[in-house]
Symmetry: C2
Subunit: 341 residues, 2 copies
DNA sequence: GTGAAAGCGCTAACAC
DNA sequence: GTGTTAGCGCTTTCAC
């Protein structure tokens, strides 16, 4: 359809200005405020005028401007989401679930990926100050948290510690560490490598390693710790780490770490002739689709991404609306037994 | 920092209203329009007044409202992006690159995932009508394209045929098909399975299969075609397809298809005892990170996602600005030889 | 029930 | 150079 009959009939050519609320009002022979009422289904409007207004709206092909409405209501119905990347499966899944959750709450999602873009996070937080969005869900791995100081707008952190005023939505990582520990213990592992994220990033996620090690050490199991560099998300980085691990610690019989590192270790291990799960057990933490997609699906502690996303969305929206937020901050992880432990 | 010294000093408590442009004007003893000028670095403002204005802005902790500015300029500086999902690696990577490209063009990205959300696409396109965003990049697998009829706002399609008025950014798929064909031919394959997407979705991507088959048939190679159901993106769906493939066509010695299906075939094949690449060759089309992350990295025809994203971003922005768009519509794919062919 | 008018916070002509 | 004025397109009190 090139151009609708009505558009042409009404002179809605490309250049012609779009109908505004006052055009509709004039056409229907009423005041703009009345049109607003029927538009928003508020107040009382007689059936007769409603009909007239609706006819006028249809005739002029009227579509209200969201921007004007937002200015008037001083809000935008959009939530900003700050994540390190989208290509990483964890953040991809998370972003998808956040978008869905926000959509159902009648909010739009604006995305900012911080990785590989200098200053983008600062710019984005500035947009919050400029009231381009109503609130932020922050889940990036920033080292400089000062940009969040003195912010009055609603903000919640996803698995990150930003400052004491900002609530954190996260999975019960202590329980996650416990699940992993119990699984390795059941499997009889005695020499474990624990691959941890960069410790300069403040995240509740570090807890699962702590909980894990506490338990393992209580059972007299040796745990060798390896720290990843900051913002290492590339598979190549992980392969290097894997190589380093096997070189330093060839007697390892169990590995715990995030999905992709563990997958890289699986790859390296097979190449070096380790038999999995007979001689080497693997548990991936996070449990994104990534772990069930290879030749040998990886046993994982799964973070309940959907629930976490819903919780975060619900929480930020409540805060934006000024409603009471008595929602919990955590969700429970789950052990998914597959072929590597 | 709980609250900045200045905030407190200026009474910028939570309840206190934020400074507006006229507050700054009053404080500086000038007109609002002058403040606007220094804000936007436009026109000529004497050094003295500039200083006064800047001091006033700092003192009142003034942050301009983006919404008011947008209403005034009737634009939003945001582009909507419609994709089936974000958890799929192709779309995750694409979204990430789009966001980066738009960021550098000074635009924000609003995301809509259509999969698993009835009507969300219609709602989203409606937002374009409501001028919530300035333009759209559409890359979803919709069957009902009528919602794009009669749209006057800028829109460009990503690897999708929507209607004749909407330009399409896509990879040169014919060339992609040719690259795959040549690789299989060099490897001496004679019985190929070609796994194609659902044909009800109109996409230039179908071209690579056509080009591929044309060449293969010219060389007398048998090609067995398998069609995927609509919106099959889950790995489980792909595993089923793989099983079906080997059951129906056990003599296969080469498989072509999108990344995840081919990965699923790899998995199935290994389980069934096919030796790759000796007895069975695999080529994945798309070449996302997914293909280089398993135990045996998959040879792939890679779509240049970053370039495609930059092109799409640049194109939509030019259209939004009313600039001439003489940019090309296509990018070249590349064969990445790895371990499966 | 409906309309007039003020306001949301900024930009842009056009005077001076 | 700077101020005045009139929008941008909607919502919302408050009379009538």
């Amino acid at each position: 359809m090139e151009k609708s009959y009505e558009d042409v009939w009404n002179g809605q050519e490309d250049g012609a200005h779009m109908a505004r609320i006052k055009d509709v009002a004039r056409e229907a022979g009423v005041a703009a405020s009345t049109v607003s009422l029927v538009l928003n289904q508020k107040g009382y409007v007689s059936e007769a005028t409603r009909q007239k207004v609706e006819a006028a709206m249809k005739k002029l092909n009227y579509i209200p401007s969201e921007v004007a409405r937002n200015l008037s209501l001083s809000r935008t119905q959009t939530i900003g989401v700050i994540l390190p990347s989208l290509s990483h499966p964890f953040f991809g899944e998370l972003a998808e679930e956040l978008e869905a959750a926000l959509y159902h709450l009648d909010y739009k999602m604006m995305i900012c990926c911080t990785q590989a873009k200098e200053n983008s996070e600062r710019d984005f937080v500035d947009m919050l100050r400029r009231r381009t969005m109503d609130g932020i869900i922050m889940g990036a791995h920033s080292l400089d948290l000062s940009i969040y100081d003195g912010l009055d707008q609603p903000i919640i952190a996803f698995d990150r510690i930003i400052n004491p005023r900002i609530p954190i939505v996260h999975c019960d990582h202590r329980r996650g560490g416990q699940l992993a520990a119990e699984a390795f213990l059941r499997a009889g592992c005695g020499r474990i490598a624990d691959i941890i994220g960069y410790q300069g990033v403040h995240s509740p996620a570090h807890e699962y390693h702590r909980a894990f090690r506490t338990i393992m050490e209580a059972y007299g199991v040796e745990v060798h710790v390896i720290e990843l560099p900051w913002n290492a998300f590339g598979y190549a980085d992980f392969l290097q780490t894997a190589e380093r691990l096997f070189a330093e610690y060839p007697a390892v019989d169990g590995i715990l770490g995030a999905d992709m590192v563990v997958a890289a270790c699986q790859h390296s291990a097979v190449a070096r002739g380790y038999r999995i799960p007979e001689k080497l057990k693997l548990i991936a933490y996070d449990g994104t689709s990534f772990t069930c997609t290879g030749a040998q699906p990886i046993t994982a502690v799964r973070q309940p991404i959907r629930q976490l996303a819903r919780l975060a969305a619900e929480k930020i929206v409540r805060r934006v609306k000024g409603e009471m937020d008595d929602l919990p901050c955590t969700c429970e992880p789950e052990l998914i037994e597959r072929e590597t432990c």
